[in-house]
Structure formats: C-alpha cells, structure tokens
C-alpha cells in the first residue's frame, strides 16, 4: 500500500548551505554600498549634515502625464474631423434620382456633371422636356424614335455654371432637400436656358405626379426603377415663355 506523504511529516529545516564567512563580510559590503556623505570626520563631535541623496519610497510623479491627455484629445479631434469630412463628401457626391436608377449605367453611374445638361431652345426643338429631371440629349439620340432637331447643339458633357448666374447647388436627393436655383438667362424671352435638377421633398412624398405616363426613356430602360420613371410629368413647353415655365415649375414645387 502506497504511503502518502504529508507535508507535516517532512522536516522543516532548511536544506541549504551558506558559503563560509558570508555573513561576516556581509555587513561591511552593505555599509560600503550605501551612498552617504557622513563618512567624513565629525568636527568637534558636531554631526555633519548628510549630503546623501535621499531617494523617497513614494512613487515618483510623472512630470509628463499631461502629454497623454493632449494626445488623446488630438486623436478625438482628428476622428471628429475625419467623420465630418466624410459626411461632407457624401453630401456633395453624386446622387439624386439618377443614382437610384438601376441597370442603366448611363444614368446611375454617371456623375452629376455628366448628367446635367443645359437645356437650350426647348421651344425651338418642339420636343418634350421632362420638367423634373435632367434631359440627356445623348440618351434621346439613342432611344427616341424622333431624332433631335438639327439646330439643337448638344450641351457639353460637363456642367459649367453660368458666369452671370449663381451656380446651382446640386445635392443628393436623399440627403439635402434644398431647392435648386434655376439658371436662366435674363432678357431672353423664348430661350429657356437652365439646368434643372430635382430633389425629393423632405417627407418622402413624391411631389410629382405618380400617374404620369411613362416616357419613352422609361420604356426603353427596361430595368429602370418605377420611382425614376414615375417621377416624370410631361409638360409641353412649346408655347410657354421662359418666365411661364419658371413660374410653373416653381408653383409645382419642382425646386
């Protein structure tokens, strides 16, 4: 039967040995290693002030503890700044109704500058203009059965604000709902030159007619979403002056 050893059964003596003469020389070595200035002779029995440097046992105060707080504050400010910048860039990035269209790269993936065309001479064109959306002449050329009038000069691909008019502020539909100031050339009655950009009202209510017939563009874009195509309200600008067009659009809260 195995005998189990218990700790109380073991002799409690320390089984280690000490080198000979160790303790005799220990005091001298300790006193020699102590840093003090009082080993010099005492004059007339008067004790000298010790010049030894006293090292306190208390934990030393960190002199530069404030640096970590400053670094933390700088990090927080940097993060806030980055988040704010990111939000600003999201707001000014391309979006709006055109971005919601699926399946049509020319619509959903184009930048705002490419999508926004200057609509010129609409009355002269005699065509229909989608009042609440941008009119892309290139699309019309591809999709409409009616070729564009010859006297219509396609607008440049990039949008350049008029020097005499305030630049229209383009914003994404889902974020900023401020109306866009139309660009018009003053003094020219029958020439409506503006860039039209539409936004969705703040409460999500579709201000446009939902019963509007689908346009040719929408028909040709098989994958176009209903929200995009149904937002159209077909208006005949042929017999309307520029001021009437503006008033109509303003009155219908297109801006």
């Amino acid at each position: 039967m195995e005998k189990r050893i218990h700790i109380e059964d073991i002799d409690r003596k320390t089984p280690f040995r000490v080198p000979d003469g160790y303790f005799e020389g220990l005091t001298g070595r300790v006193m020699a290693s102590i840093s003090d200035g009082s080993e010099e002779a005492v004059d007339n029995g008067a004790p000298h002030e010790s010049n030894s440097k006293v090292v306190g046992m208390l934990p030393r105060r960190n002199k530069f503890g404030w640096v970590k707080w400053l670094a933390a504050a700088a990090c927080i400010c940097g993060v806030v700044f980055l988040i704010a910048n990111q939000q600003d860039s999201d707001e000014t990035a391309g979006g709006g109704p055109t971005a919601n269209v699926k399946g049509n790269p020319s619509v959903s993936e184009n930048s705002d500058a490419e999508d926004i065309q200057t609509v010129s001479s609409t009355e002269q064109a005699g065509g229909k203009v989608y009042a609440n959306n941008t009119y892309d002449l290139s699309r019309h050329a591809h999709r409409s059965s009616t070729p564009p009038p010859a006297n219509i000069t396609p607008a440049p691909a990039t949008y350049k604000p008029s020097a005499t008019a305030p630049a229209a502020k383009v914003q994404t539909a889902s974020v900023d709902l401020k109306p866009v100031t139309p660009v018009r050339t003053a003094g020219k009655e029958n020439l409506a030159t503006r860039t039209i950009r539409t936004v969705t009202p703040p409460n999500g209510v579709n201000a446009f007619s939902t019963n509007a017939p689908k346009t040719d563009m929408a028909d040709n874009d098989a994958s176009t979403t209903d929200s995009y195509s149904q937002e159209y309200d077909l208006i005949d600008y042929t017999n309307m002056s520029s001021s009437e067009i503006y008033e109509y659009l303003a009155g219908n809260e297109y801006y």
Binding site: I5, I7, L26, T27, V30, S33, V55
Partner: protein
C-alpha cells in the same frame, strides 16, 4: 531580549545623529533572518545575495520615511518581500496569490535536477522534492508558504508584510500545501 534590542535600534534609527551606527547594528541583527527568507524563495545563493543587498540599500534610502509605527522586523520583511517579487518578476514569472496560476511543473522538474548537483544543498530526497515543489508555486503563494511553513509566522504578520487579508492567506497556504503534497507523491 531581541525585542528590546529591536526597539533600541528603532529609536536610534529615528535620530539622524545615530542613524548610521544603528543601521549597521540592524544589518548585523536581521541579515541572517532576511537571507533565509529570501533564499527559500529563490533557492540559489547568488540570487539571494543580490536581493539581500538591494533590500538593505532600499531600507537605508527609505529611512527618512520610516516613522517607527510598525516593527522594524516587519518593515524589513516587507522590503525583502517586495524586492524578491521584483526579482522573480524580472525572471518573467507570473505572480498570483490566489493560486489560480497553474503550478509550474516545468520549473519544479528543472529545480529537482539542479538541486541534485547543487553543492549548497544538504537535504535528502524528500526535502529535495519539497524544495522543487515550492519552486513550482506562483511567487506570492510561494512567499506565503515559506513564511508560514519555514518561519512559522502568524497570519496577521504575513498579512502585514504582503498586504493581503488573513482569509486569502489561509486559502493560499492551503492550496500550496495540496499542490506540494501532490507533486511529492507523484515523484516519490
């Protein structure tokens, strides 16, 4: 007799004019006790010598903060205890008093082999197993065990040195005993 001598040294340490001589007397009085307290923790003489000298140097440097409120022996034990833990922590051991840290069986086995050829070890096989088992304990638990088992210190005094509650010390000692007995019986 030793208590009176301790009080006398304490009183002279508080006086700057007699401090140096009193300190020398203190080293003579407590060097052996402190040496064995440290040696049981560290096992090796050279390590013990380093820690012991550091202990006395720390005591001299901290003499300004010594008010004599606690016993001189307790104060020195506390310094030696902290210096030993600092030394062990530098050897990258984990420190735990509740015994949750695993028993370092590898260290114990290594110690067992080292003690076999150590010229400063005088014990038999069982004592060699005991020392090897103690070496496998976590540092704080090791110190509690050695103070209680070898020095037969009261739990209240150990609590004052380690800054731990008496209940925690009792639990730690009980766990240490179980681990040591298991190690010894497995290697017998």
């Amino acid at each position: 007799m030793s208590i009176d001598k301790e009080k006398d040294i304490t009183a002279r340490l508080l006086d700057k004019s007699t401090r140096r001589k009193a300190f020398e007397d203190m080293v003579n009085m407590f060097s052996s006790r402190l040496y064995w307290q440290i040696r049981r923790m560290l096992t090796y003489h050279d390590d013990t010598d380093d820690v012991l000298q550091n202990t006395f140097i720390k005591a001299w440097n901290g003499m300004e903060s010594f008010r004599g409120d606690s016993k001189l022996s307790t104060w020195l034990y506390k310094i030696a205890y902290n210096e030993t833990l600092t030394f062990i922590s530098k050897q990258r051991e984990t420190i735990s008093i509740d015994g949750t840290t695993d028993f370092d069986d590898e260290n114990s086995t290594s110690m067992l082999n080292t003690l076999e050829s150590d010229s400063y070890f005088d014990g038999d096989e069982t004592m060699r197993l005991l020392q090897a088992a103690v070496a496998g304990l976590p540092a704080k638990q090791r110190s509690v065990f050695t103070m209680k088992y070898f020095d037969d210190m009261k739990y209240e005094d150990i609590a004052e040195v380690t800054g731990t509650s008496v209940g925690a010390l009792k639990a730690s000692y009980h766990l240490a005993v179980k681990k040591i007995e298991e190690f010894i019986n497995n290697h017998e």
